[in-house]
């Protein structure tokens, strides 16, 4: 710990930088985008710094103010949190850049966006770094509230309705989680995950706590059938907000779920894994069918998120094959973050161009906005899991896990989900080439907004070719070890 006094405290930067940015943006009002961009760049650099430090020195632990657990606040980071922070940083930078152009002509909206977004980012980073259940609750609540605020920004009855529903869901989710945490605290006298892991035992208290915590988090992650709030919220928000909700916010509660499963509950109740997997499989099919049925682009993309969330839960029943199922899911989370942000941005560009997002009324956009259509299509390649893309690598691993154990049903769902994703992605791409008779406004869309979408989509493609760097970060601290060792027969 002596060395860490001299070395930069990346964890602290990652939390304080966006927090300071949020406060400044709130106080200064004007210049929010400059503050936002500077914070974003600084966060990216800190996240890279943290990843580098993780690769050099292994798992890191930082006790804020020198107070050890269970009294003080402990920030802990391993490969899993490092990777999530990096994902948040890269996608967050893209979203900040996009938002700075998107809100350029609307100072009023910009004033509201930047403080909330930076606050959300603070909560996100803190969540990835927290090591005790109560801090996690605080970050989760902060994340939810700022996300609701951002959703409501668009104004109008649809957006407000969606935001209100989102608020209730978010509060209910956090409340359930908090109840579970209270139960655990009562039973074991601590909220530190590492300490709890040593004390927790199968029994009514543990199961009740797990049931509460999981239902809260599943609600927030929008796993079928708790997804009902997601499509309206994600589709009605302004585009940069849609992108960050779909790409990052749902990942936070999923990360928490995964972390708690790995460290606390996995050994407690692996019967549950089949149920979770089945819900995931249903989400894939249901989400894809709904996406196919949508006539509006942003709703289609939102339902695609519902389907993709289903994949995240496919790893739970497949863990018998060892690490690859988890690797697959994490890789999917990474590539989904890039691809879905790109997709929403491309949709936003098309909407800004034509003034609507009706799929069948798109008028030769493949010629008019080739970069945006390319971004959508490339992101789609990753979403449907075709090579070369991060989505493909993820699907390969998941398939390998299921076929290697001869679990045919799961493999069929994985395959079917890919085909259905191709169907809804190409439904959009097909109409991008055709003419439309509907009257169009045809506004110009800034090139920069198109390039940001394309670059994020290319990032999702690139993940399919550069697999080892992210996996090297993930391997730090071997986050999946507890579960695997717990599973040994």
């Amino acid at each position: 710990m002596a060395a860490s006094a001299v070395a930069p405290q990346w964890e602290v930067f990652l939390i304080l930088l966006p927090l300071a940015g949020a406060l400044l943006a709130f106080l200064l009002r004007r210049g929010g985008s400059l503050i936002g961009l500077l914070s974003a760049i600084a966060i990216v650099m800190s996240a890279i710094g943290l990843a580098g430090a993780l690769l050099d020195g292994g798992v890191r632990q930082h006790t804020v103010g020198g107070w050890e657990a269970p009294l003080g606040i402990v920030l802990r980071s391993d490969g899993l949190s490092g990777l999530m922070l990096l994902m948040g940083a890269v996608v967050g930078l893209g979203i900040s850049l996009y938002a700075s152009v998107w809100f350029r002509d609307d100072a009023h909206q910009a004033e509201r966006f930047w403080p909330l977004w930076l606050l959300l980012w603070t909560a996100l980073n803190a969540l990835f770094l927290s090591a005790d259940l109560f801090n996690l609750y605080v970050t989760l609540e902060l994340l939810g509230l700022s996300a609701v605020g951002l959703t409501a920004m668009a104004g109008g009855s649809a957006a407000l309705g969606a935001a209100m529903r989102y608020l209730l869901v978010s509060l209910l989710g956090s409340l359930l989680y908090l109840l579970g945490v209270a139960l655990l605290y009562h039973a074991h006298g601590t909220v530190d995950i590492a300490l709890l892991a040593a004390r927790i035992a199968a029994g009514p208290a543990g199961w009740a706590a797990m049931a509460l915590i999981f239902s809260g988090l599943l609600l927030k992650t929008a796993l079928f059938p708790l997804h009902f709030w997601l499509p309206p919220a994600h589709a009605s928000a302004p585009t940069p907000v849609s992108a960050l909700l779909s790409a990052l916010v749902i990942k936070a509660s999923f990360y928490l779920l995964l972390r708690l499963w790995l460290d606390l509950f996995g050994s407690l109740a692996h019967q549950l894994s089949t149920l979770i997997g089945l819900l995931g499989a249903t989400a894939i099919v249901w989400g894809s069918v709904q996406a196919l049925r949508q006539r509006r682009l942003k709703l289609l993309i939102a339902y695609s998120t519902v389907a993709q969330i289903g994949y995240f839960f496919m790893a739970f029943p497949l863990t018998g094959a060892g690490l690859i199922a988890w690797h697959g899911v994490l890789y999917l989370a990474l590539s989904h973050a890039l691809a879905k942000a790109a997709m929403f941005m491309a949709a936003g560009n098309l909407m800004r161009h034509a003034g609507h997002d009706r799929i069948a009324d798109m008028d030769r956009v493949a010629q008019r906005l080739p970069l945006s259509v390319a971004a959508f299509a490339l992101a789609g390649v990753s979403i449907m899991g075709l090579p070369p893309s991060g989505g493909f690598i993820a699907k390969w691993w998941l398939l390998e896990a299921s076929l290697g154990q001869e679990r045919w049903g799961w493999a069929m769902v994985l395959i079917l989900g890919g085909v259905m994703a191709a169907a809804y992605v190409f439904k959009v791409v097909g109409y991008a080439f055709t003419e439309s008779s509907a009257p169009q406004e045809a506004c110009t869309v800034p090139q920069s907004m198109q390039w940001i979408a394309l670059l994020l989509a290319l990032g999702a493609i690139l993940l399919g070719l550069l697999v080892s760097p992210p996996m090297a970060v993930l391997a730090v601290g071997d986050p999946f070890a507890p579960l695997l060792s717990g599973r040994e027969p």
Binding site: I393, L416, T434
Partner: protein, 503 residues
Amino acid sequence: MSLNQWLPLWVLASSLLPGLLIFALPENKHCTRTVLNLSGALIKLALVAWMAWGVYHQQVYEIRLALLPSLDLVLRVGPLALFFIVLSSGLWLLTTIYAIGYLEGSPNRSRFFGFFSLCVTSTVGLAMAGNLFTFLLFYEMLTLATYPLLVHRGTEAARRAGRSYLAYTVSGGALFLAGTVWLYSLTGTLEFIPQGFVSGLDTAHHPALVAIFVLLIAGLGVKAALVPLHGWLPQAMVAPAPVSALLHAVAVVKAGAFGIVRVVYEVYGVEFASELGVTYPLAMVAAFTIIYGSLRALFQDDLKRRLAFSTVSQVSYIALGVAIVGPIATIGGLVHLIHQGLMKITLFFCAGNLSETLGIHKVSEMNGVGRRMPWTMVAFTIGALGMIGLPPFAGFVSKWYLSLGALEAGRDWVILLLVGSSLLNAAYFLPILHAAWFREPDVPWPKERRFGDRFGRRETAWALLFPPLMTAALTLAIGLFAVAPLTPLEWAKLISTREFGRP
């Protein structure tokens, strides 16, 4: 690693880089685009020729890039890979020339040529793929890169054709992916090697291997248009003629057939596949496809549709040659990969010329067209006669070797099949030839365009006429000089001895 070893990457780059540059080009830079296109195609051809020289002298080019912990991206060029590369890069040059002429004055050419280059890049990539994983990667890239070409015209019909193409190919790709992953989970390797890598597995896995074979062949059969997976191909004829040429001869259909060769020979090994009992059903499917395609072709009045069903029929000769399981039949199947490509591309070029110059789309409009467009129809005639399998054209050589191979393997019914198929081919091609040469023209033509005002009247644009004449001449030449060194036939024999390890 010497510069020489990097050749496979250069070959890929020679179409990938021009393609990416062309995407970035403004629409009106015709000259730059043409220069990029043609120089890319010529450089690729030169590199391929260089590589061919090396491969002929026993060199094997290989590049490995680690992707997943135990899976590499492998590009390896041996005789079989080179065989396909020569076909697609040679025909790419001609098709590019043709497309430049064909699309003159039409919109969105940058997009068209960009994706065109990507298609060829993927095709060459899958030819060079050294394991099933790499093959899968390029195979899917090919699916994606072809789609924008199919819907290029942006009409409702084009969108539907594109949708049908994707419905077939993406589903096929999904089956192929499932088969590949399953195979990998059994064997732990996907490397193509002579005699395959699965024969060492425990016999308990044999049912699984049969299932995997079915998955892989179904995935490949979609592109190779095996009945009943052929439905997209006739619909795809709404695309511009150069795209049809690409689908039918240069890339897509051939990628499927080539994949079948790879799977049978270098994943399963043909003897082992035959022991498993999977080659016989494959031969039956191919035989059925041959007859079915020809029968359907008989009743099509739309020229391109007739040609499309003819492709359905003819490409299955390749699968048939592989599935007969015998060295001579293999040579016949392999050589047909090139022969069918040359003949079919000639026919599609000519069909494109007829529609561009005279507005003819239907067989019933072709009366007397030989007088108006003699050179085009000469090329068409050579292609058609070759398809029927008359000597001395290329198609005859394929059918000769297939028949000999069938006799050698004791599959006498194949002879009947080939005779029947040839008769059917004659039945749907000869009436066209008769109408074109011997009937009186019904002037005026549906929609005539004049070409060559400056240098007197010509039958059509030079860029449209040169490619079919070249391919027709090649069809004739490789049929006449089939046993000269370095012809497709000799190269197929080389593959058979060297890569498949046969006498």
